[in-house]
């Protein structure tokens, strides 16, 4: 009998029908994948299973009998642990406090047992290979580290059902392998797992069964053993897909971005490289290698301690995103919720926010120009939305990511820096984004791409720069960049 199941569940948000007649069974000892394009309804389904949303119609069955989850607490009591798509840590609490939020172990005298908390956290982190200080505050953690903490939080409960909504989106190969090790062990102990990812190879590695949603409707349930990744793509998008990495070869032009001996003490050291027009350069490395920190400094978010950045031959004023933008730089940041978007603001206003000067008529903002700018890019990126005046917060995660891309691409930058550009984006659109990046590069843009997804790095980059513990340790031209060469540099086994 299924541990947890949905029977004929539907859910609408206003006019948007997020789920229609979905049934799903999670069996003990089985990992079940949920596949579907951005906005297909996967996260909505997760939130119904975890008590965040109530289904409009249909039932949740716990061990075969109908239950009503009044809220996330009810689901938690029933043994359901959830990793949500977007980390929801309390920024001012420490990592340990976040992990044990609301269920701190007590000593015999009724006080919070800090020793027990520290010990358990240590064990969890060791299993996941996480090297974070548990007493550190959650504020300022990279999106990958936040996700690792969320994973530890979910694993710290003795869950009968483990639900993971894109837990790997920000992680690189090593962390994913460790996570899968832990999850497989749980599964073998009889835990039921629901897993969502837009990286199909992960689904095929971890899961036994997959349910595919299209526009909120279940279109197929298959045993993984019976299908190929191409079959799964066809079920998701309803057609065959073009190449996922449609890389065209550009002709490298003059140097557009030069980074000279850039250093931030304790974060990264002596980083120098160049990106030419027409080139896509990838910055690879493990989570925590300092890639995000480097691009933040380039864009002027953080102030470097030494070194400088030149764009088009002119040195950039440090610590000023405004100056960087004026010089033609754009940064698609890694954390769309905190850094990329203003959740309360509408889709079109978010897209205009990085180019307020470009949607002006005289001193006033032109609503028409603002709308046209958003409309144009919404179509090009196949954004799924109801109205452009809707707050961006109601979009699905992948569609929010598309809005961040639109916001920066609309500026037509000469140097585009993208930090995990396809995080949470479905395969179909991923191919689209890759084609777009390739076209932009061929058209003379310089692209610097931080990505934890190795196939993306190898498929898209003309050159791969590899970072390890804050230093640039290898530069591999496209021809010699392989999974092995990048990984061995990223783990510090070779030095360049």
């Amino acid at each position: 009998m299924a541990v947890l199941a949905l029977s004929d569940v539907s859910k609408s948000f206003g006019a948007v029908r997020a789920l229609r007649g979905v049934s799903l069974k999670l069996e003990a000892g089985e990992a079940h994948a949920l596949a579907g394009e951005n906005g297909a309804g996967k996260s909505t389904l997760v939130k119904i299973l975890s008590g965040v949303h109530r289904p409009d119609t249909g039932q949740i069955l716990l061990n075969g009998s109908p239950v009503t989850f009044g809220g996330p607490a009810d689901a938690r009591h029933a043994g359901v642990a959830v990793i949500y798509q977007e980390p929801t840590l309390f920024p001012d609490l420490s990592i340990v406090e976040n992990i044990f939020m609301g269920r701190q172990p007590r000593t015999r005298f009724g006080r919070i047992d800090r020793a027990a908390m520290a010990e358990q956290t240590g064990r969890l982190f060791a299993g996941l290979g996480v090297e974070l200080d548990p007493e550190q505050a959650a504020r300022g953690l990279s999106i990958a580290d936040q996700q690792l903490v969320e994973i530890a939080k979910a694993l710290s409960r003795d869950a009968k059902v483990l639900i993971m909504d894109e837990p790997t989106a920000a992680l690189s190969g090593n962390e994913v392998a460790r996570l899968f090790g832990v999850v497989k062990a749980l599964r073998e102990q009889g835990c039921a797992v629901l897993f969502i990812s837009h990286r199909l190879d992960e689904i095929f590695e971890l899961c036994q069964r997959v349910t595919t949603l299209r526009d909120g409707t279940p279109v197929a349930e298959d045993l993984i053993a019976d299908i190929t990744p191409d079959d799964l793509v066809r079920r998701m998008v309803g057609r065959d897909l073009d190449a996922l990495y449609p890389k065209q070869d550009g002709v490298p032009g003059e140097v557009a971005l030069e980074v000279h001996r850039l250093t931030r003490e304790g974060v990264f050291t002596d980083v120098s490289f160049r990106v030419r027009r027409g080139e896509i350069v990838a910055l690879a490395g493990l989570v925590g290698a300092g890639r995000t920190e480097v691009v933040r400094a380039i864009f002027g978010i953080d102030r470097q301690d030494a070194g400088w950045v030149e764009v088009g031959g002119r040195r950039l004023r440090p610590a000023s995103p405004t100056a960087a933008m004026a010089a033609g730089l754009a940064l698609v940041p890694e954390d769309r919720r905190q850094q990329g978007l203003v959740m309360d603001l509408s889709i079109d206003r978010n897209i205009a926010l990085a180019g307020l000067a470009e949607v002006r008529r005289g001193p006033l903002i032109s609503r028409a120009a603002e709308h046209a700018r958003a409309q144009d890019w919404a179509v090009r990126l196949r954004l799924k939305f109801a109205r452009l005046s809707d707050p961006v917060g109601v979009l699905s995660g992948g569609n929010q990511q598309k809005v961040v891309l639109a916001k920066w691409l609309a500026r037509k930058p000469s140097v585009l820096i993208v930090d995990e550009p396809t995080r949470g984006i479905d395969v179909g659109t991923k191919a689209e984004v890759h084609r777009l990046l390739s076209e932009l590069a061929v058209g003379g843009m310089a692209v610097l791409m931080v990505s934890s997804e190795l196939p993306e790095v190898l498929g898209m980059a003309d050159r791969v720069l590899v970072m390890h513990e804050g230093r640039l340790v290898a530069e591999l031209p496209r021809a010699s960049a392989t999974e092995e060469s990048v990984m061995s540099a990223a783990t510090g086994r070779t030095a360049a």
């Binding site: 996260s43 909505t44 997760v46 939130k47 965040v52 949303h53 996330p72 949500y84 798509q85 977007e86 929801t88 909504d165 978010i301 995103p321 405004t322 960087a324 933008m325 940064l331 940041p333 919720r337 905190q338 850094q339 990329g340 978007l341 203003v342 959740m343 309360d344 603001l345 206003r349 205009a352 926010l353 990085a354 307020l356 000067a357 002006r360 001193p363 006033l364 903002i365 917060g393 109601v394 995660g397 916001k407």
Partner: protein, 314 residues
């Protein structure tokens, strides 16, 4: 959407109170009373304009009434010293801007919370006003100006012109967009190339200068410059802004809503005075309105927040 719904509610309330007062309160519905009551809201309205920007940007300035007092004191002192009023007025505006600049620097350069900073300067500026002018009242001000300030069309015209300007600035320009973005998500605004600190600094400067402008109107209207001019007005200003639907958390609100709220609060107070409501009750009712004005719109926001935070967990 919701903002607009809140504005309509304020408008309905305003019309309702006016109708009730016109029918039920003797002496309310005549030109001289109405122009008097509007005139009486001038300073609050002026300061509410800039306060709206500050609160939308998720900051607050509790020192505006003290800045007003300090500017009055400077005016009285310089007038006593024999300076011409045409010279004194720009000096007062400068003093106000300087007060705002101090707030702005403390908030943006030292990263202190504006609540703490402006509680401090609230005491500081008022204290300075007493140091400068003591408890004397400077009353022999030029009649040309005092009569100008009591002619309703002049101060109200000032409010109207500045109000329209502020509304356009907040709702139709890039600066306005930036202010909303700062209030809703400062980090994302910074990542979008918005000069967060610079904008906040100038909002405080504008707030200080506006308080000084209000001090000129106040001084001429009452023909008296004193160090204790405008004591307590900051609360009325903040209350009007919040009642007008601006979120205390920043990122939401509208200027027309705020201006309607200013008038609503003025009408209620005026009607109650005319209805001979005892002073204690009057204070109670105004206090109640203050609390309600802080609570009601933000209760809505709190609800929404809980609601959306639930939905946005993914």
């Amino acid at each position: 959407m919701l903002v607009r719904r809140w504005e309509s509610l304020i408008l309905v309330l305003l019309v309702g109170v006016c109708v009730w007062a016109a029918l039920g309160v003797d002496g309310f519905a005549n030109t001289s009373n109405v122009s008097f009551l509007l005139l009486d809201t001038t300073e609050i309205a002026l300061m509410a304009l800039t306060m709206t920007f500050v609160i939308v940007a998720a900051e607050i300035d509790l020192s505006v009434a003290s800045t007003l007092g300090l500017s009055c004191a400077v005016l009285g002192w310089l007038w006593n010293a024999g300076l011409g009023i045409e010279l004194i007025m720009p000096i007062c505006l400068l003093v106000g801007a300087l007060c705002g600049a101090i707030n702005g620097l403390l908030v943006t350069r030292l990263g202190l919370p504006s609540l703490a900073v402006t509680i401090g300067t609230f005491a500081l500026y008022r204290g300075l006003a007493y140091v400068i002018l003591g408890d004397q009242a400077v009353a022999d001000l030029p009649a040309a100006y005092t009569s100008l300030a009591t002619r309703p069309l002049v101060p109200l015209g000032l409010v109207a012109v500045l109000g329209v300007g502020a509304a356009v600035l907040l709702h139709a320009t890039g600066l306005g967009r930036a202010v909303f973005a700062i209030g809703a998500n400062q980090e994302a605004a910074f990542f979008s190339g918005i000069r967060v600190k610079r904008i906040k600094f100038w909002l405080f400067v504008a707030g200080g200068a506006m308080a000084a402008l209000a001090s000129l109107v106040f001084t001429f209207r009452y023909a008296s410059a004193r160090a204790d001019n405008g004591v307590g007005l900051e609360l009325a200003v903040v209350a009007a802004v919040l009642l007008g639907g601006v979120s205390i958390f920043g990122g939401r609100g509208s200027l027309p809503g705020v201006l309607m709220a200013v008038v609503l609060l003025g009408v209620v107070r005026n009607a109650l005075i005319l209805a001979d409501v005892a002073n204690e009750v009057l204070n109670f009712v105004t206090g109640l309105l203050l609390v309600a004005s802080v609570l009601a719109p933000n209760l809505g926001a709190l609800w929404r927040r809980r609601f959306t935070s639930q939905q946005e967990v993914s």
